[in-house]
Symmetry: C2
Subunit: 760 residues, 2 copies
């Protein structure tokens, strides 16, 4: 925590503010360990939120939106060394503006060994009654919460490999698993469901043993200095290897010569012979780390095998994502289980107890909600402390934002266990990582301009927008050095980070004016366009409908190339259609699709839509209307929160209402429920089908056609997803680098139809 574990060469930017929004803190929990203390609290936040007129009699105008103040909820978890507990409690007390009175008589859930020791201190400082919670129960509750809500919470660690951090994707079934908590000692917990766990074992050889023996054996001050020492030591000077005894491999037993036969076994041989010790303190520290990590790894893998469990998560102070320790434990688990057990580490392992304690009886965190990591307010994967109070107090922090609906896996995925949303893993693909980090850095000014333009009435808009820029650029620089710092690095996570930072600086919807202008313009052309389409013979019409969707998808304010065109040229549907390349497209299943359209109607289609304006109104709506005319029920699935110029669910409702005044077919479909707008519970331009709004997931259970539109949803994500029903992925690649990477050229077309092995 004091930062000594970080190689000196990496100087990290700090953009994380600690203990935010304390004045609105509603409920506290605390986990006090021998080494680290974690404070959890819940706060409500006031944000600008765009609202929309819904009067369908009235045409939608660009001044029809207003900002209202809206409340949202956030969980804060702050971690610091227990030695600073008094300073931290003082700070919290001082910042509970007007809240302290309200707190008196209320409770604070407390867990960890220190809960007993610091009970009175907490009561004195915060005026809260301390209610102790079982430590192991809290760990499990916290672990379940993270695994359910943060899809790339867990990772496999491969030291010096590419990638070093292999983040896991969301798992539709997280149970059963083992949680090995390595604090001073070690507890091994078997978790079989949300409510059932058992402590099946443990060992007293844990972090306390490393630190205790380490402080007797070396001059290292504290845990991190000891780890630093270990990092540079050579255990071969202290440990007796198989080769030292047998002069090589012990072949008949399959023991390789560099395997440790006896930890510290060389020391007595040396001392016994009166030879001077050949080993340094660093060597001793390394041996010690190996001994303890190996031991825990072996015991954990034996328990896992005994209980037939494949997944073992490690948590607790000992690891704190320290590469050498994670490596040794992983190696040991793999060695002893012969690969049958997987060792998994958690990005936020330090918070498990605090999260669990907070959740005990917290009605704010029930089953009606889901939670998402806030990239803007959370600190990076350790060891990377931030500092606070004149750089004296190192801390780390996790913030999670509440989502007002539960989320579920998309029921149409053929193999949800192995679903990976993102087409490219920027942790692995160095070239792609460099490209996209450059690309986002170069695009940042466009976002800033747009943010300022969206709040012309605000005096602080420019300042806030520049703060946004600073934070985002710093984050990009951090990710260049440590791409694993916030879990999976993908185009999706980079786009999500923009949204989180924008929201942080109170730009909830920078593209709101742009979106409404374009919707107005497009709606004005809808009637004429529908008439034209209706006049075509069916085969030509179906082809024209596809081309319209593609042309519509050109209108993307997230794509720099298009933004330049849109800013500098007259650019409408027909101009866009001209940019669509000749067939055959990069992926071109149009003939299959047309053939399919000659067949029977689909019963039920779900269309995941992309941009406002031409895209939704002149591209998607006519396409959906054609399906409806054939007798297909259609759900249009829109983002719940704004992202670039993507249509939000609220906007979509207004658009459908307006379109209904123009087209009787649409009007009737909306009235009788044949055409429905639903929200995805997404807030970015990409689409994570492991976290769909549960109501939507339920509604699309029997869908026989899923359509996913746009670069974010159908190329950056879900390009390779497999579905149980027919699927259509439609997008224009408005990025030359990506188009070329996929073997095409600028504006290459993806039109991917998959029958999903359906026979119709």
């Amino acid at each position: 925590m004091d930062g000594k574990g970080i190689p000196k060469s990496i100087k990290l930017p700090e953009t994380i503010k600690v203990f935010r929004n304390l004045k609105n803190a509603k409920r506290f929990a605390i986990d006090i360990g021998g080494s680290l203390t974690k404070i959890a609290y819940y706060s409500t936040l006031s944000h600008r939120r765009a609202t929309y007129a819904k009067d369908k009699e009235k045409p939608l105008m660009s001044d029809d939106h207003t900002y209202a103040i809206s409340e949202s909820a956030r969980l804060h978890f702050v971690k610091f060394e227990t030695k600073y507990i008094e300073r931290c409690l003082d700070f919290v007390q001082a910042n509970l503006v007007g809240t302290r009175e309200k707190m008196v008589g209320k409770i604070i859930k407390a867990t960890g060994g220190g809960a007993y020791k610091y009970s009175n201190l907490i009561q004195d400082k915060l005026g809260l009654k301390v209610e102790k919670e079982d430590e192991m129960g809290c760990l499990i509750k916290g672990c379940n919460f993270l695994l359910k809500n943060i899809s790339d919470e867990a990772f496999v660690f491969h030291r010096h490999a590419n990638p070093e951090y292999e983040f896991q994707t969301a798992d539709p079934n997280i149970f059963p698993y083992l949680l090995v908590n390595i604090g001073s000692g070690v507890s091994i917990l078997k978790v079989e469901s949300e409510d059932s766990y058992e402590r099946i074992g443990g060992t007293a050889t844990g972090g306390g043993t490393f630190w205790g023996l380490g402080s007797l054996l070396t001059k290292a001050k504290g845990f991190d200095e000891l780890l630093e020492l270990a990092e540079v030591g050579d255990h071969r000077n202290t440990d007796l290897l198989v080769g030292d005894i047998y002069g090589g491999d012990y072949k008949s037993l399959g023991l390789e010569c560099d395997l440790i036969a006896s930890a510290f076994g060389k020391v007595c041989h040396l001392s016994r012979k009166g030879k001077q010790m050949q080993c340094s303190e660093a060597d001793v520290a390394k041996s010690l780390l190996f001994t303890i990590s190996n031991d825990i790894g072996q015991i954990a893998s034996l328990y896992a095998m005994m209980h037939n469990i494949r997944k073992v998560y490690f948590g607790g102070y000992f690891l704190r994502n320290h590469p050498l320790s994670m490596h040794t434990i992983s190696y040991s688990i793999n060695y002893w289980s012969k690969g049958s057990v997987q060792s998994l580490f958690l990005r936020h392992e330090g918070y498990l107890g605090a999260i669990g304690a907070f959740l005990k009886g917290a009605e704010q965190c029930g089953e009606n909600y889901s939670w998402q990591e806030n990239y803007a307010g959370s600190s990076a994967l350790e060891p990377q402390p931030c500092t606070w109070l004149d750089n004296n107090v190192p801390f780390a922090q996790l913030e999670m934002d509440r989502w007002e609906s539960p989320v579920s896996f998309c029921p149409l995925l053929s193999d949800p266990n192995n679903y990976i949303p993102d087409a490219v893993d920027l942790n692995v693909d160095h070239e792609a990582r460099k490209y996209w980090l450059d690309c986002f850095e170069q695009s940042i000014d466009k976002f800033v301009d747009c943010a300022i333009a969206s709040q012309v009435d605000s005096e602080t808009a420019e300042e806030r927008a520049n703060q946004f820029k600073e934070q985002y650029i710093k984050r990009l620089h951090q990710l260049r050095k440590q791409p694993f710092a916030y879990g999976n690095l993908t185009v999706r996570s980079l786009l999500d980070t923009i949204q989180h930072c924008m929201k942080e600086f109170d730009f909830p919807d920078p593209y709101i004016s742009v979106k409404q202008c374009e919707n107005e313009a497009a709606l004005s052309q809808l009637s004429e366009r529908l008439n034209y389409l209706d006049s075509l013979p069916p085969e030509d019409r179906n082809k024209e409908l596809v081309v319209s969707v593609l042309a519509g998808n050109m209108f993307d304010w997230g794509a720099r190339a298009v933004v330049e065109i849109m800013e500098n040229e007259q650019f409408g549907l027909s101009e866009a259609k001209e940019k669509i390349p000749d067939r055959p497209w990069l992926i071109d299943n149009l003939d299959m699709w047309l053939e399919r359209m000659r067949g029977p109607a689909h019963n039920h289609a779900a269309i995941f839509i992309d941009n406002s304006g031409v895209d939704i109104i002149l591209g998607i709506l006519p396409f959906a209307r054609e399906l409806i005319k054939r007798g297909t029920k259609v759900i249009l699935c829109a983002n719940s929160e704004p992202a670039l110029n993507d249509v939000t669910h609220k906007e979509l409702e207004v658009i459908l209402s307006q379109a209904g005044t123009i087209c009787p077919i649409i009007n009737q479909a909306v009235e009788n429920g044949t055409l429905e707008a639903m929200e995805t519970a997404q807030a970015g331009p990409c689409l994570d089908l492991s976290r769909l709004n549960s109501s939507l997931a339920k509604a699309i259970t029997n869908v026989d056609l899923i359509v996913i539109e746009g670069m974010g949803r159908a190329v950056h994500t879900n390009l390779y997803a497999k579905f149980t029903c027919e699927s259509l992925r439609v997008a224009v690649i408005k990025n030359r680098w990506l188009a070329e990477k996929l073997g095409g050229e600028m504006f290459a077309v993806i039109f991917k139809y998959d029958s999903g092995n359906t026979i119709f």
Copy 2:
């Protein structure tokens, strides 16, 4: 090994000579570990052995026995610290009188890590070609050999309990088991049969870790000083206990307050707070011992549970029967396996590798033989080193004598797994232990006199007899202090020890003259006695036959009370009958037996006989003759080697031959095999039915009546044994203390008939 592990108050007598009989050494093996070296060799020994005339035409006379020189075989295993290897090899070389030439070009099997390092040294010193053998394979082979041949080789250790050492009885099925070998590192081997084993695991945290870390953390010189330190330390000064964290038990997890939560966990708490260390080097040593023992115990128990194995044997340098280490490992195994796994230690664990290496391809140790620990030449359970070469070189030694037949469990035992030969465990029963040790000490002069009398022609007899006395008295003194020193302490083992020591000083059969005198006298009365018995009506005859067996059993030179009578009075069958108390006897199933004799004849009876003279000739022979007359086939089972005045198999053959000249029924029965003499493979006055001569065991498979006669065979041992067939235990208790202990008086009668649930 340097003796520092022994409490100063116990001064041990030393009676063990090292490297005996080197001049007849035939074959060598060596196991060189990092700490200890073990040399194994095979030697042939020349002993006096009584021979008997067998001419049945000639009456048996007291001068018909002669001593011939007879060869027997012995295995020697000598253990010393590897640092003395050169001195020891020099000694061996110097004592290979005339043998060295014969050795040149021959091989020595070598195992252990040092086999590689010391190869040339061995070759130079002994002229033997070093042939390396796989270490683990040798350990297993050695372990199987000990478990098969020494019935109380393994023990459970209960620190401070009574008894501390719970020795195991012989197991008809030793497989499967785990062998956990704790040397510098730890290997865990699963053994499923004589020929199949697998290294299923191990850990580098072993003896080398204890020694290595111990030498970094304390000023202790060497392993034993470290153990001494640990013995007086208090781990609560260094380890963090559950109570230190939670202020008491962690009840919801069932963790008691004195359980170690974090080994060495208190050290960093102290040092972190800048407090002076509260822990001493002794505390540190104890914590270290606990940490490592706990760890090994837990890992071993997990492997055992995973492989569904109940028995875990521990071996290797780390333990060496050190009480604190054995206790911690046992506690740990029991704790983690919830009692489902048993931790077992081996009396001779240090020799496993050397035994195994020796056995590799040793035709002298094939399946046609069995082996028995020689109590006279073997040293006691460690830590109790003997010293050598002006007290400078500590050593320990195991000698095993070859038995010229394989042994098996008696097939008539109902529950061979739980068969315990001995009725009283002198390790547990302190009063009985004191009594018997006193009793044997007080009787020793009688044995000495008798030994001298048996070799009137030898000039060295008196000197040898006194040496015998000195050794035996010293052994008794040692057993008073450490009753566990040679495994199970029982009347049987004390009697066996007399025999081993007698043989050691070349008194193979001290009672030979006495036995022959008495046989002559009894044979002269046989004819008359048979006539009298034949004249009785059946009911009276059967009763008289039983009383005769009882009266005959009075003639016991091992019973002091009887010896005094026999030496001072005219004492024949009729005098003996007068000493038999009136009925009801102490155990009196005579009526049941008489009732049984009114029923159908037994098909096949085995009678385990006791003393020479009146006992066999006027007691057992008429009883057996009656069974034969009814149509029962009878096997008379006699000791293979002399013990007191017990009939040996060779003597029995002569007696039957002589009796045949007196009684035609006996003659005919011997001729047609209805009456057969077989040998038991026993060499003491007791009877261990887990080690019967395999031929005898095979022959009695279908026996429907087993008769066991005498105090040694039916009271000291087998009083509580259960059989699958009918059984008769017949004995007169010629020891007041024992009689009273069993609730009777001097000369109390045991006549125990058990139908064995047989329906006839």
